[in-house]
């Protein structure tokens, strides 16, 4: 009977360890017009970390936000819209995995779908989509996962769950052996 209790306890701990923590991440999505102007405006705060990358990639000196949306994901299956006067980025989250979220993105120009894509948006890797040329500039779509700390800075940062971390490590090892 004692061994039964020990086995049950081990199983319970493993079950707890395999349950993904519901970290409330926020996905920021923005519609950006990039262009070269003589007097560039400061880059929006949401894009500060990406400023250098965007400049290197696209060669523009100004990045103006024409539409944006921040969505806190709890179930990982929410959907939302970031829109400007003529464009709309519809984001349909289709589940969470340990790296981020599976998203279906649709870029609308008024009622026409210009571009549709499915992506696994990583928590540590922003997504930038080059859209159509608009005048002398370029439409860009930017999606960034902000972690709990960034989204709600007043909250205390929870320490990493060592059981969950160990479990993910074990899964990665098994994935390497059995792809």
């Amino acid at each position: 009977m004692q061994l039964t209790r020990v086995l049950l306890a081990v199983w319970f701990v493993m079950a707890i360890g395999t349950t993904p923590l519901q970290a409330a991440n926020t996905v920021w999505s923005g519609l950006v017009i990039a262009q070269n102007v003589p007097q560039p405006a400061p880059i929006p705060p949401e894009l500060t970390k990406l400023e250098q990358t965007l400049k290197e990639l696209f060669g523009y000196n100004q990045f103006e936000l024409i539409g944006e949306s921040s969505k806190t994901l709890k179930t990982g299956e929410e959907d939302w819209l970031a829109n400007s006067k003529y464009f709309a980025l519809q984001v349909d989250a289709r589940g969470e995995n340990d790296a981020g979220y599976t998203l279906n993105l649709k870029l609308y120009k008024e009622k026409d779908v210009l571009l549709e894509t499915d992506a696994n948006l990583s928590k540590s890797s922003p997504l930038v989509i080059k859209g159509p040329q608009v005048g002398s500039g370029q439409l860009l779509l930017v999606l960034v996962v902000k972690d709990d700390e960034q989204a709600r800075p007043r909250h205390h940062v929870e320490p990493a769950n060592p059981i969950t971390a160990g479990w993910y490590r074990l899964r990665r090892m098994i994935h390497r052996v059995i792809p």
């Binding site: 990639l57 103006e64 006067k85 571009l115 540590s124 997504l127 989509i129 005048g135 899964r171 098994i174």
Partner: protein, 170 residues
């Protein structure tokens, strides 16, 4: 000096002889009845000797009997012996195998729920992209990652229809 009963028993067993036999038979009131009784006694003795003799068993019966005795003895020993533990070696083995099987099943189920977790853990992964080929017949899509520390995944489109600057309005 033998009593009558002793002489009677000896006469039935035909152990009297000579003068003793003659004297005893002469003392019997009805010799013919006594002779008939003697014959009945002898018949009964022969019958009993035949029926009470030990019966020989065949080999199969003998082994079956031995086995039954042994099973009965061991059952008695087990019930009267010390109480055995539930965790016998075979049960432990089965329990371990069951726990391992459950663990493997759980692992497989969890992995199947997150098929792309490993690949996209560090970089955003584009699964598929499409543009309207009618509106953008020359459109092309490229996917790459930035080389710097930001780990930006870029979906680069070429050949999309250009739009007037009015579309840059907020």
């Amino acid at each position: 000096m033998k009593t009558f009963e002793e002489k009677w028993t000896a006469w039935l067993d035909e152990q009297l002889s000579g003068k003793e036999l003659a004297d005893f038979e002469a003392s019997l009131p009805d010799l013919a009845a006594a002779e008939a009784e003697k014959r009945d006694e002898l018949k009964l003795g022969a019958f009993l000797k035949e029926q009470l003799a030990p019966q020989a068993m065949s080999n199969a019966e003998f082994f079956s009997h031995q086995l039954q005795e042994r099973i009965a003895r061991e059952s008695g020993d087990r019930s009267s012996g010390t109480k055995s533990t539930w965790w016998t070696i075979p049960r432990l083995v089965w329990s371990g195998a069951t726990a391992l099987a459950l663990f493997i099943i759980t692992t497989i189920v969890l992995m199947s729920q997150h098929p792309s977790g490993e690949q996209s853990e560090y970089l955003t992964q584009i699964l598929q992209s499409r543009v309207d080929p009618a509106a953008n017949p020359n459109a092309a899509i490229y996917i790459f990652e930035s080389k710097n520390d930001n780990k930006v995944t870029v979906l680069w489109t070429e050949g999309l229809q250009s739009l007037p600057s009015d579309y840059a309005a907020k």
